[in-house]
Symmetry: D4
Subunit: 226 residues, 8 copies
């Protein structure tokens, strides 16, 4: 069975759900990723690649690799064909990260939003162990209807943010930390047990999913009379 | 230290976040719950009580208990003083439950929405092992900008719903099942690992949290230009 | 083997470590607890009983039970013979609890300190989901060299306190919550992964241990030149 | 003790159980694998090698390696001596995989069936987040008495398949995913908690075991009067 | 919402999959079970009830309870209307249990098979710590195309059976044991890690699921040319 | 977003809490560490680097690397500008390690104390399986008001020390061991369940945190009247 | 199937292994226990009953119950017919328990030894947090070739004993403790990770198994030339 | 602190416990291992090295490495100075391994026994999925007073052996397997839950510990009158 036959790509997803087609590269072979790229290039269909690590990126067929806009921090790549874009949506989504070590998932959220036409406000290193850093930014945050809060270790940030702002709060627990941080499990379960009401949670390090949730809310809000 | 001194109630939350004050009764003594009720009754401040089991409810001071609208399935009680309410918000939120055994958390979501002025569409027993039951309702579901999907065991429902509708999907994994269901852990981790993009997740059996998230999104949508 | 032969009580501990003898009653039979009480009563030796639940307390030999000062919230009992006490130590230890549901372990810490001659400052229901409640008390807290921070669910309180005050911070994670709170495991691992440096941690719900740690520090401080 | 003395090969298994002899190479040294190959080559006895990774394969004695039909995707190798085979059994087993990332275990099942004279129908990338992909193939699947359903992450595929078809459904949870997918644990426990009745489960990534179960059922069916 | 509206019963399942409709009673209220019974009684549709514990059974509406054939060991009840049955299928399925403590799940499998027209051979207390007990029965077991092996603690029975017989082997790990048996988790993971090839596994204590799998195989075998 | 914008360094921490600024390097890129170093070098602000492994250290910009005092055992580096230091504090803190394999976390504690002006007494390889090694040092240990006890595997050392000395005991469980040691989880949970009262616990391998706790106690003791 | 048919008792075990027949009552119904007792009474065959809790004991058929020598602390009962016993074996086995809360499993070991003709030395409440209690007994312990060490929480006792005595050391971790003690898991894994070489371990609370292991060693020693 | 100061070697252990000094190399640096070797070489004291992997062995100081008898399968090395040994003890201990993949821990047990003067009978690849392989050896095994049973995956071997032979049975669960084998956890917990009475258990892959336990029993047996 060749690699192309192992795919069943979804070219209608953008229409149907307002989120562009994406492939998760982490457990795919370079042959599989090349095959997927060839299929979408042939149709000039845009695609987002996530979990594309530096080594896999380097091993892609050179012609295909040259067509990609790759970012190693977030391990994402854009394949895009339209040279003209709509004006990006601003001031709707803020991405807040507790620590510098959370840059990977936070930038994955930022890049996924960018790929789908949204330009978020980005705030880094405002973890609650140094509370004044966050308090300085609360007014700014409160102006955004949707906030993606990215934090590892004890992941107290989404709870504190959820108590301070009225908007939708999407928590992204990260795998930052060691020992009792349990690869992000502690952050995950802390977010799920948040004493701030109505904070919702994505998988560990899943900046992509948080961005998609924000896109769903932006789309849904058009159905909601204000 | 008397029970009243153990509380620091938040009378401004409805203003600040659009979600009425609520107390979680599961690990509070009857004396503590009575004390909280007395404080809010004195101010004629409405309050939602969650995780109030049948035995605790029965042991409350009779005068206070008589003021409560109690529902044993969801283990919630309303304390309300306004006899006239605004017309409830309809067609914005759907609550979908996979099985009859998921009634408790599903009804907790419904009741929390009701308490806060939202009347959701409710659909029960549409688990994906009998797929036609869900497919019959997809068009109806798609009309709602926000869907709360409640499911235990393998919790496949939120994934299937997330793939079929464009709106915001909030998953509530439940503790339904036994053995490998691990008290809801399997449902929780399955929802977090959903292959449908942008599904967000609440704690196990946390219908209350899902409803609050829906309220946050409804409030946030007013800030989003359509 | 009779119950008394199953004990090897430590009458010298107060001298040696500055912490009075205590017994953990949770997995002992009423016969064993009675036997221990008889031995210490015979010597007029004071003793603290922890994890003595209401039912076991009620089943103790009446004469012994009448000698106890019992508190059902903390499940502790004092057996004391000295009618005159030293003036208690004040302003050295603060016990801060995130929620009303954390009253049991918080009061266990308070009572253990009381039994050993320390009268702590007690502050309840200042969880970080309503941050202003804690910020109002920061100056007061900062005046105490030792702070015991008691919190369940996501247990963000010890981290926020640890970032705001310079003193010794002893975290007591509690079993408050459900689902992803995992009976206190999440709170425990969150405290251990705290991004505030130098916060130390006790077992879940172990207010007794936190108080003993505070007593050790108070004793140790006499050896430290100021 | 030399490597050959560490083996006790089972040359009668094909006769006894209808499944050819196989060795699991993952935790064996290259010296051990070489020794096993030498023994079976000497008797011209066929053997299937599983979990033979690319590096170990490359380090085998060249003469032995040249006798193997190796597939890196499934990490399986065939050692066969009969040039003429029986006509393979068709239309009895279908192997369905949820995603492209599940190719490894799915192909391990396919190859194990091939080695034992069965040629399965193979369908890839029909995960339930894009439900129409599966619905398109339901009639085809229903014609097969045995279905092996391979899926990772939330592993909803076996449940949906189990609800749609009447045949025997063998689930192979895979380690695809990250974070809450817990290396396949979530998929495993989701399959075991399936709300579709009578779905049976193999170990994580165990395509080999699923194929053996299918072979057992094919053999057993000869004892069942139709 | 009344209890009947919480159900979506499946009257066509017997036709579609050869397994009669069943409801899982463990997490349903007595009101819900009564409602389901009333619906099927009105249609004279047979139904199997599983996980119906003695207390819930006793609390059912008397008229409905009198129509049930209830077995407390397996916690199953039959609601049947046909006084004449087909001759049951014999010699096709054997149910083997390692210990007397495994009687509950083993009898659940037996009763589910009985309800669906299959009369299995039943063998109890043949755990492998006293191996001769099993060896005495191997010839008898080998005559059955399908074997359900029920075992707790270390669950070695399915592995030993799987090595001795050629038929389909369905393992039911049980929650028998304590401590390291982890409520059946150890048995479950031992069965999944069985060194006998092609043993498939059901959830802990899931005799019902094993019986359904046997029914699927019996049905599937009609599609397989012998 | 450049690497420097991902930081929000805390130059006032030494003043506020008596603990110098430190960065956790484990999940930061070399670019991020370089950026942080450049910022503090520009201000001539001292900084401690923890979890800086040998490879990352080697890849730092050469000019910056040359300014660091690096220790590979503890994976710590000092950036300091003051050539004259205060006389270090002696005899206040002892660091005791159970085994030679615990050298990494033990030396992390020692180095963190050194960086902050404290020179601890260091005792290695006194695990309780050879009890006389510890008993020989008890008198010496008892003279120290604060003891950091570092141990892996079954981590019995902190309990035995806690029973023998009256001072503050801070346990550092380590990841030493294999299998049932579970990467330090067993040591961690053993320390938390210590039958010696008032032993407090840090994260697995967290020598840094234990040192910070000791610094907090030293600072706090100045507020405690002796 | 009646209860007697669910048993396959082993009347030859004493001959074969030197350990009398025993049944584990925890997950058996009263009907099953009665049936087993009737069978052995009919043959006048002795039997040990373990995990027979007070309620089940009270519900047994009165005639059978009267024949039992029952001990509620260890939850064991003896059924014996020989009025004359051999002189019990003394000074060969010591049972040492860390705390009074460990009485149940410790007495289960003692009673199992008694039932099989061994009279162990018993020492209680010598946990290592008060080390002198154990050191006082080391010479006595060293005289015994086999030591059963029973301990919960952090279970440091078996390690310390294993380092002090040369004999066979069998650890019985117990479920004493709470929170991080994890129902005995921490004690179990601590014993398995013991830094004392050659300490072997039984299941949590399994005093019965430890006694059987001691009996095996006593029997085996007859085969070993001294 | 230099590497030699990090050791506190135990030169009296052989005298005290009949087990030669050994060091666990897994989490020690090459510098530490070299330092330990130099110390014992200086005293001409024999030493066993365990968990010495091939890379660390290769990096040792050449002079020291040349003095070692190294075995890569068991990762053990002997440092011995006596050219004449006592006649080894035979027929007392058997080491039985379920699979070829268990060679590492099995050979660690064999080598540890060899180092301490015992020459065990060794039997490989007799896992119970092919039961006749074990039954062929039962008479031989029964002649040995002590049996070390080594098995991974579902680890059924120790249970079956424990039921067949009367001697002391020491189980060594191994990390062989994948997925549900959980790195040896399943084997470990299966051994601890063995339905064969009196089987004792060592840590995962701990052949060294099992051998030490056998040495303890051999030594203890001299104190037991036969």
């Amino acid at each position: 069975m060749n690699a192309a036959d192992q795919f069943n790509l979804d070219y209608g997803r953008d229409k149907r759900q307002g989120i562009g087609e994406a492939i998760f590269c982490a457990q795919k072979s370079v042959a599989q990723i090349n095959a997927a790229l060839e299929m979408v290039v042939a149709r000039r269909h845009p695609m987002l690649l996530t979990h594309l690590n530096v080594d896999s990126h380097a091993e892609l067929t050179a012609d295909l690799r040259d067509m990609l806009d790759y970012d190693p921090v977030s391990r994402t790549a854009f394949l895009r064909f339209d040279t003209e874009c709509d004006e990006p949506v601003r001031d709707m989504v803020a991405v807040v990260a507790a620590g510098t070590s959370d840059a990977g998932p936070a930038m994955e959220a930022v890049r996924t939003l960018n790929f789908n036409g949204v330009d978020p406000t980005v705030i880094f290193d405002v973890g609650v162990a140094g509370l004044w850093r966050l308090l300085d930014r609360v007014d700014d945050l409160s102006r955004h209807p949707i906030i993606i809060a990215v934090a590892g270790m004890d992941a107290a940030l989404p709870t504190v943010v959820g108590g301070l702002v009225p908007g939708a709060v999407i928590a992204v627990p990260t795998s930052t930390g060691y020992g009792a941080a349990r690869g992000g499990d502690t952050a995950l379960h802390a977010c799920l047990s948040s004493c701030a009401s109505g904070v919702v949670v994505c998988n560990i390090d899943n900046g992509y999913g948080a961005a998609c949730a924000a896109l769903r809310i932006l789309k849904a809000s058009r159905q909601i009379p204000s």
